[in-house]
Symmetry: C2
Subunit: 544 residues, 2 copies
Amino acid sequence: MAVALLALAAPAHADGLVDNVNGYTLEGKGTVQRFTGLLIDRQGKVARLLTGREKRPTVALDYKLDAGGKTLLPGLIDAHGHVMQLGLQALSLDLSDTKSLAEAQEKLRRWAAERPNLRWITGGGWNQEQWSLGRMPTAADLDAAVPDRPVWLMRVDGHAGLANTAALQRAGITAKTPQPVGGRIALAAGKPTGLFVDAATDLVARVVPPPQPRDYDLAFARAQEMLLAGGITAVADMGTSVADWNVIRRAGDAGRLSVRIMSYAAGIEPMIAIAGTAPTPWLYDGRLKMAGVKLFADGALGSRGAWLKADYADAPRERGLQLLDDAKLRNLMSRAAMDGFQVAVHAIGDAANAQVLGAIDELAETYKGDRRWRIEHAQIVDPADLPRFGRNGIVASMQPVHATSDRLMAEARLGPARLGGAYAWRTMLDNKVPLAFGSDFPVERPDAFAGLAAAVSREDANGQPAGGWRPDQKLRFTEALAAFTTGAAYAGFAEDRIGSLTAGHFADFILIDRDPFEATPAAIRGTQVIETWIGGKRNVLRKQ
Amino acid sequence: MAVALLALAAPAHADGLVDNVNGYTLEGKGTVQRFTGLLIDRQGKVARLLTGREKRPTVALDYKLDAGGKTLLPGLIDAHGHVMQLGLQALSLDLSDTKSLAEAQEKLRRWAAERPNLRWITGGGWNQEQWSLGRMPTAADLDAAVPDRPVWLMRVDGHAGLANTAALQRAGITAKTPQPVGGRIALAAGKPTGLFVDAATDLVARVVPPPQPRDYDLAFARAQEMLLAGGITAVADMGTSVADWNVIRRAGDAGRLSVRIMSYAAGIEPMIAIAGTAPTPWLYDGRLKMAGVKLFADGALGSRGAWLKADYADAPRERGLQLLDDAKLRNLMSRAAMDGFQVAVHAIGDAANAQVLGAIDELAETYKGDRRWRIEHAQIVDPADLPRFGRNGIVASMQPVHATSDRLMAEARLGPARLGGAYAWRTMLDNKVPLAFGSDFPVERPDAFAGLAAAVSREDANGQPAGGWRPDQKLRFTEALAAFTTGAAYAGFAEDRIGSLTAGHFADFILIDRDPFEATPAAIRGTQVIETWIGGKRNVLRKQ
């Protein structure tokens, strides 16, 4: 009997082969390695890269895929995103790009049809001027698209909302509903039209149910789909709440966690509530780990919350928001570091960056060893402070697309003379600072190819400004790709498992429709992901 | 190469053997099965029971244990306990049983020495009268036992606290500390003695650190040790908070979760925050599952919170606390049941039991199928309501030791005429109600043998009252054991995996020092657990 069992037992290291690829991977030092075949073991890890016409294994393989010469890259890693926010935002309809009522109705109809489990359809962005409608839209306009469920859509300015008939019924709105103070229920022939202005919007908004567990689960699933569609196989989730964590664990427990998540808790309290006295181990076959904590030193540039060393150029006597005094910042960082948690601090303004650099200088004396203090964004740095990033093992976690989105605003907020250390990723590399790139989704789309294009061109999607903004900070493609792969893995203490396709690392990779090493920035930006593999398994991509 | 791998691969079903046992297990219907050997597979499950001199396997075994004829029972399952409370209480020193200062000092010294990671030693229960001390104790008395860490111990009445010198220092108490309003810092020769009376206790209590993650982790570890020492291999945790859940998951993630936990969330909110839209799957190789929710219909008998149909006999015009009106109770139960969560409702008084029975009558029309509505405690039931337990698949989750602890109080609260349905486990079985037994630890000790003894004798540890209280409710030993094994498994939808030693079930079992089938109630109560095995693995027991 024992012999029979032995014969039945499967070999532990049978393989799969993805063959006939135009394969690239980067090694830790940034050197490019080319290959034509990828051998994957049964643990979903890279067994071996095959080059040129190197002989393929003759043993029986579990599976074999001929990629037809397509380009294969390591899975992209987004070093800074907000997974649950991405998913929740995706549950809300955005009509800001619609040019007519008919187009909006069609978008609404399709949106609702694709989301049969969504109990309320909510969203906004509509503008009857942009639609050239010549009147305000009504409940009947929405009913024509979605009659079966309540719909509630805010106008682009947030000062009006439009309900369909089902929503009016849920809210109990009738011709007899009194007009509220500070708002107006639009009426036609004495009956509510579906439009609510200012304070009257509360009459409907208050009956929209808050997100329920199934909404969070849906949102998380949707976020994963969006990431996989963009070829992103791992993310650093910057600010995981206890509620977020439970949603992610539910997915992990049910085998629905695909994307690898390096989690940074949304503060010390959730960090210790979740992980206790040490970072968690890697869970779910390397798909989830709470690595550390995310803290905030300041706000953002757009709202003049970024903390600056001198006054805003466009707002005299304003210098933004210092969120923590020096002692408090050090104490929070210390509380995390003493138990071996990694610390990631949001710093956008030059004063905030200087404060965090100073805190790290002090803490590094106590907390020796490989700490990888992360500064998130590092957007506006005093040029005098740039060399300080090269000390104490600091990781600069930056978002290339922000530079192209923010440049006009940054020039307005600071004036051209104070931008010598703005979005200065070239200087970071020159100073030997480990660089990790991300998108800050959902602030920007979770699109690493847009990030790669911005990193090498300093131009936006329209090619503006031609030749690039502050072009001395451009990266070579290889350097930019490293920041989205090996660099982002290093930033999460994960370079032993992801980021490069090396024997023993997870077989996380993508097949794409072009060779970005040979492409213009515009072509890089247009790259289409054909397949996304994680842990040696192909993920089915839903059309976006 | 492939052949070599095949030869190296281990057979999937190699076995271990625990042999030469006086083995008992119960089948679902309560019939006793005897065996002399237990064959365990590599998944930690029962491969086969071996009887009499049946031939033992001749293939090589991974391990073999000769139990020397000891009695082997299925692991005991406590159907109602509070795991984190058990552990946290165990981190606090109880001096209420000490008869002299020297004894208290020795207990304190040993306690602190056994807990080197505890930063503060806290506890209470001391009484200088019981010590015949003739004076109040001082900081120096505590320093003699524990000089290295702060110690803070409340007097038995809660109106005074005693600090050692380290605690005085942490609290910053000196001869100059002003006397607070409403309290007194005891002084001798102008200096604080260490004793604080009434409001003055706050001066020290406020510097005692609240439990930290490491304290919770310690508490959970301690709770598991206590359960294993008592031969308890699985528990229903009645009222798991989100914080509790994270502690348990940390243990699971780190491979430190031994005892199987069937978790019932501490309300609807934590239930959905943790488990979302459905009970979790079994996690950590069958060691954790959130199965449902725990709700409360009333309070407890001691504090006259149990909700009664008629006035308390010892408190006219009081009928206890109805915690939820009928609609609210049904809504909460429905909210859980609609997503397939199991519902367990605490009901102690006869009015509370009637209310829950009524709610189940209504809900069972909507929620068909196998729901196993649990009524927790079911202590004081109107005899007219007892047959209603036999409908709708209700499980009676009862605690035999409560009957012996509460009987004098129950007689005082209700008078003898209203106890016809009190702790009526015999009647439950006669009515074919599935019965699950637990201890309600830490309210009672997590000691299933005490529960078994109480169930068969209706006598307390001192044999009182001789012949048993309301002895018509006594069970046979087999019936009581079933309620602590197969019945408790059934109550948690786990009878397919634990509770009986059947092929394919987990090999959760205990070796004990006597045969309780052949023992008197007093001897059953004195049973010592020698080894506790879970999933085919022996757990090292720490001495209590």
